[in-house]
């Protein structure tokens, strides 16, 4: 099992979500996050006052899935989230040791 984490532009969320669902992803977690990478914050000047924007607003999607699904998931995320510009985001893949569904006590694959 793997966890796929994707940081993407907020307006791309619906597309990415739909694409992931279409390839068989059954659940995901979304959070509103802020941070910076190459798309650093910037400064705005409005009527003489400066407004420093240090972090950029992004959406983070987390999905735990079977390892076999990962390549396709990464592919569709890239396809859908890409605009070709800085700030399109990143995808991280990491191993997951165990999953437990709290309600039923199922573990492993069934619990995903």
């Amino acid at each position: 099992m793997k966890k796929v984490e994707a940081i993407i532009k907020p307006f791309k969320l619906d597309e990415v979500k739909a694409a992931l669902t279409a390839i068989g992803v059954r659940g995901l977690t979304v959070s509103e996050v802020k941070g910076f990478g190459r798309q650093r914050g910037h400064k705005e000047v409005y009527r003489g006052a400066e407004y420093q924007v240090d972090f950029v607003s992004k959406v983070k999607i987390e999905v735990v899935m079977e390892a076999s699904l990962v390549p396709e998931a990464i592919k569709v995320i890239q396809e859908k989230a890409r605009t070709g510009q800085i700030g399109d985001g990143k995808v991280f893949v990491s191993p997951v040791e165990e999953v437990l569904r709290i309600r039923t006590g199922e573990t492993g694959k069934e619990a995903i």
Partner: protein, 864 residues
């Protein structure tokens, strides 16, 4: 187990089962209380310790206190009981509690009890007002009644009479604490039925004050002694009964004492209370609408009662004794009221005047005034709603410093809904989700409050925006009416029609009407665009700018967006959203401040150009649909191209696309035409854009001795480059076509890498036939501007003109990995003044200082 216990257990279970089956259960608390009373009486009779106390002539009494004393026992409420003795507590008392009270724990009841002497009770009441309140609610159950009467007399004579002031202050502080801890239940989506403001505690406060200050005994006395009017009492009783019933269902559903009505229980409770889903409203939404209205009414009555009967409430409202408030009105003890009811009948406008004066003086309505307004609401007819005096008064209130407080009073007594019936339609509408905290009516008022309160905000950004707004009345009205269309889908669109009706009735100035309606129509635009569109994409920003049209409107829209979100709930406005909306704000502002793109004239012009192009016989002749082309054209192109050229470009692009990929590796299309009037030729060049394309083109033209006079380059969103050059006419005036053919050939070879432009141009420059003038040259000037555009870095170059200069500049930019998206080339005499809009190959502005200095240095070097 005793028979009393078995009886209680059985009847309690039956009661809970009836409740679960949603039987008509208005009297559930009375029945529950009666069961408990019955239990205590019977079990005392059965108790051996009780018998011994009787026979030893030790007086004692069982006293119900707290909620049980008030006969408000919900199915899982605490049962608080006092075992009262005269002076000394005998050892037998322990046996009594064991026999009578312990069994109740086995039933799962939350039992609170105390075994106390009268003296203990009085001491505790003095020390802790919470004990005092439970004593005020005390009710005799069984035992020795003179003992109970002694206790009550002691509470009045020895505690209350000496502690009135302190007790009143304590109650008000308690109210404050509840407000902070539990919030205003009449507007919160998951209200606390008991402790929330507007909850049962508000009623208890009224009762405690009545008992402590006026020595009233039962709730009914509130009416019989004239503290409340008949209608007020009936209303209060009706609302309380509803809240009590809801509370009992909540207890039963959560199977424990629980007063916070969470979403899951709201859904379950609604059908039990007889609500059914309707087409326009869910059962649960109707239910919560009614509950909020009930709690709002309890809250309002509490506030009015406290103000009328307690020493002055501190804070909020100003003290004002002898203020001039106009004919028919007066101020008494800091509250405003009518001189008499008959004056209202003679002059219904007085109803509005009352609120205007309340706004002006800062005096709240007296309880009597609230009563009269409610009773005379039928006088608010269409004539009054249209009367310029009433409308003027209303606007004066909206513009005044106390707009929120006064409008809130108007809302509480029903006047706002009477004066603006459209507002009444949405006032109690609840959206059943975790996003909206308030029903629509209160949400609208909250929005107005935020708009009014911007000056107190710490966020300096908002302050800057507000300070620049000359007249915020349209903004305030938009804040009040922005959700007026929330009776169905597309509420922004619907709201415009409804608000138009209101404003027409107000005879509001036409220009301002448009302003208000615009704000209502687009109050979601900024948030929706910021969260759902690509802000790095010029088109979405330009579209937004086009809709908004002026920096002033943008500022108003930003404020409305902020206020609306803040008033919606904690999740609607976060740093995360603020970031996105502010980014959009600045981008739109820059376009509006700088460009002509977004003016209404511009969009009208674009529309006309497109219409004309659609009608072109050329396109119809070859059966070409222009719509997909319009989609990809850049905004600047749409604005500047004339219909005839636009058609030509589409046709050229169509032709280029039809070239087969095998025969032509680098498809392009080049057309020329003479421009006799200007003594120059125009070259139109289309190709799939790639970095360096412009440099190649400039180089090839220079190589063929075609001096570039000006150039406009456009990049469509599908990656098509459309470059239009004005060049000097070919030297070979007799066979110009031969020159153009050579240009095409050179381009093809350049693209294929078979022709080296630096080499050929170098060769050409060193040719002795080309005169190099000796006149003094100006040093070249390079200006880099990162502030003018959100999407591009602007590079301005001023220099003396010479062969291949444009090629050199553009080649340098290409070498520095810059993509030229827009170029404005101007040659005046022997001077060039060029502006290039560039981005890096990843489509970003150049922010890296080192990179920027490199660009500047490299250009200066090349231009020497």
């Amino acid at each position: 187990m005793s028979s009393a216990f078995e009886q209680l257990k059985g009847s309690r279970n039956r009661l809970i089962a009836l409740l679960a089956a949603s039987q008509e259960m208005d009297d559930v608390q009375a029945r529950h209380t009666e069961m408990m009373d019955q239990y205590f009486r019977t079990s005392l009779e059965e108790s051996r310790s009780g018998q011994r106390l009787f026979s030893e002539k030790v007086p004692f009494a069982l006293v119900a206190v707290g909620g049980y004393g008030r006969k408000e026992l919900a199915v899982h409420s605490d049962v608080d009981i006092l075992i009262l003795f005269g002076h000394r507590i005998p050892d037998l008392a322990k046996g009594l509690t064991e026999e009578i009270l312990y069994p109740l724990w086995d039933l799962g009841l939350d039992l609170g009890y105390g075994t106390r002497s009268i003296k203990d009770c009085l001491r505790l009441s003095r020390e802790d007002f919470e004990v005092l309140t439970s004593m005020l609610d005390a009710r005799f159950l069984c035992g020795d009644s003179p003992l109970f009467l002694n206790l009550m007399a002691g509470i009045q004579g020895k505690v209350v009479s000496k502690k009135k002031e302190a007790f009143a202050r304590w109650l008000e502080d308690l109210h404050q604490i509840r407000m902070e801890r539990n919030g205003d239940a009449s507007v919160i989506l998951e209200p606390d039925l008991k402790e929330g403001v507007g909850g049962l505690r508000d009623y208890h406060h009224i009762l405690w004050i009545a008992k402590a200050f006026f020595e009233l005994m039962s709730p009914r006395d509130l009416e019989t002694t004239g503290r409340l009017s008949h209608n007020e009492y009936l209303e209060l009783h009706r609302h309380l009964s509803f809240i009590w019933l809801v509370r009992n269902h909540l207890h039963q559903l959560s199977n424990r004492k629980n007063d916070c009505l969470h979403f899951e229980y709201q859904e379950k409770a609604a059908p039990r209370l007889g609500y059914r889903d309707r087409e326009d409203l869910l059962a649960v939404e109707q239910f919560m609408g009614d509950l909020h209205a009930a709690m709002a009414s309890v809250k309002a009555l509490n506030r009015a009662f406290i103000r009328a009967h307690l020493p002055r409430e501190r804070g909020l409202w100003k003290r004002a004794e002898c203020m001039e408030v106009g004919e028919g009105l007066h101020v008494h003890q800091g509250e405003i009221g009518f001189d008499s009811a008959t004056t209202i009948l003679k002059d219904p406008l007085l109803l509005m005047t009352l609120f205007v004066q309340s706004s002006r003086t800062g005096c709240p309505l007296s309880m009597e005034a609230r009563r009269l307004v409610t009773e005379f609401l039928p006088l608010v007819d269409d004539a009054l709603r249209r009367s310029p005096e009433a409308v003027g008064g209303f606007l004066q209130i909206v513009n005044g410093d106390r707009a929120f407080d006064v409008l809130n009073q108007m809302h509480e007594v029903g006047f706002l809904s009477a004066f603006i019936p459209e507002f009444g339609d949405i006032a109690n509408r609840v959206q059943f989700d975790a996003y909206h905290t308030f029903p629509v009516g209160r949400h609208s008022l909250e929005t107005l409050r935020r708009l009014k309160g911007t000056r107190g905000e710490k966020d300096i950004f908002l302050l800057d925006i507000l300070l620049e707004l000359p007249d915020s009345e349209p903004l305030l009205l938009a804040g009040l009416f922005h959700d007026i269309g929330k009776v169905g889908k597309d509420h922004a669109v619907r709201g415009v029609e409804i608000a138009r009706g209101i404003l027409e009735r107000f005879q509001y100035p036409q220009r301002d009407v448009e302003e208000v309606l615009f704000l209502i129509r687009h109050h979601l635009l900024l948030v929706e665009t910021a969260t759902r569109r690509d802000l790095a994409d010029e088109k979405s920003v330009v579209n937004c700018a086009r809709l908004i049209g002026s920096p002033e409107r943008l500022r108003m829209l930003y404020l409305l967006t902020w206020a609306d979100s803040m008033a919606t709930g904690p999740r609607a406005w976060s740093d995360w959203i603020a970031n996105l909306v502010q980014e959009l704000f600045f981008k739109v502002l820059h376009i509006l401040d700088k460009g002509e793109l977004a003016t209404l004239d511009a969009s009208e012009k674009v529309r006309r150009t497109m219409d004309e192009a659609r009608r072109s016989p050329v396109l119809q002749g070859i059966g070409l649909n222009p719509e997909p082309f319009f989609e990809v054209m850049s905004p600047r192109y749409l604005l500047t191209a004339v219909p005839r050229d636009m058609v030509r470009h589409m046709e050229m692009l169509h032709r280029m696309r039809n070239l087969s990929a095998e025969e032509v590796r680098y498809p392009f299309c080049l057309e020329t035409r003479e421009n006799p009037g200007e003594g120059c030729a125009e070259v139109t060049f289309l190709a799939k854009d790639r970095p360096g394309l412009f440099a190649d083109m400039a180089g090839v033209l220079a190589l063929n001795s075609l001096n570039i006079l000006s150039a406009d380059i456009y990049t469509w969103r599908d990656g098509t480059a459309v470059d239009i050059f004005k060049v000097t006419r070919p030297l070979d005036a007799i066979h110009p076509e031969a020159v153009w053919q050579r240009v095409r050939e050179d381009l093809k070879r350049t693209f294929e890498g078979k022709l080296s432009l630096p080499y050929r141009l170098g060769q050409k420059r060193s040719s002795p036939f080309l005169s190099t003038s000796d006149k003094p040259s100006r040093p070249p000037e390079v200006v880099i501007d990162n502030a003018s555009s959100d999407f591009f870095t602007l590079i301005e170059v001023f220099a003396d003109d010479r062969v291949g200069l444009l090629y050199l500049i553009t080649k340098t930019l290409f070498d520095l990995r810059l993509d030229i998206r827009i170029a404005k080339i101007a040659t005046k005499g022997d001077q060039i003044a060029d502006v290039f809009y560039v981005r890096d190959f990843e489509g970003q502005k150049i922010e890296d200082e080192v990179h920027l200095r490199e660009i500047e240095g490299a250009l200066r070097y090349q231009l020497q």
